[in-house]
Subunit: 144 residues, 2 copies
């Protein structure tokens, strides 16, 4: 059976839900190669008191550890929210094949800053957009 | 005695030289608060096989650990090369007071991508520009 973007985004959403349960901004990510998940991560900026601990950053490091090399060729990163400038910069360096994200981040997302992905990287946005956005909105409503 | 930008950039350059000795792209960084160095780091992307292991990223994490909070208010980061998109994104999130860099990176630096620092962050570029650039050039000449 060929697993699709929806399947892997659901796995990223499970990670985001784990972040929510820890009172972290609920963003989750997985890295996939050949239909296999090789990294799972969620935002940990509060727990680690570290602005660099976004889901994508941890997923990149974790996937590179798994592969034993710094380039993530052949990999797809699924993340529940459009990457920020920092994460898009890291994803650029990693030269992965694809980025698939859920909700759009019109204020903080890389697209609003005019950034482009690596020429080797294809981006698909808006996969499970409603579900990923609803979780973020629920979090920020709880915080108010 | 008031220690100046030149003094702290020299400390960042010592870090860059340590990277050079390890066959890493020679970029070094220190984070300073109240005239005290609270973090030192250099590029480790090859050793760690991790594209996120730039000097600035490690310095941000290390300084936040030292301070016990994720925001680097009151801090200045000295780095021997103009930050890339990833690092500038991380520095944006950290809301530090100042960024001082050495050599300009016209191809990969954040300025070439049209990025702006956080409104609370002052940037000074070109401090010890010749020395920091010379070390990078020596590295890339050795690699050819």
């Amino acid at each position: 059976m060929q697993l699709d973007d929806h399947y892997f985004m659901r796995k990223a959403l499970v990670e985001a839900e784990a972040a929510f349960a820890m009172d972290e901004v609920p963003v989750g990510a997985v890295v996939v190669i050949n239909q296999q998940i090789i990294a799972r991560a969620h935002n940990l900026t509060e727990r680690l008191k570290d602005v660099t601990a976004h889901a994508e950053m941890q997923a990149i490091t974790s996937a590179a550890n798994f592969l034993g090399g710094k380039y993530l060729k052949g990999c797809t990163l699924y993340v529940t929210l459009e990457p920020c400038v920092m994460c898009m910069g890291a994803l650029y360096w990693s030269q992965l094949d694809r980025i698939v994200f859920g909700a759009f981040d019109e204020k903080r997302g890389y697209q609003s800053k005019g950034l482009q992905p690596h020429p080797k990287t294809l981006v698909t946005g808006g996969v499970m957009e409603a579900e990923t956005r609803d979780l973020l909105q629920a979090f920020f409503q709880k915080k108010r």
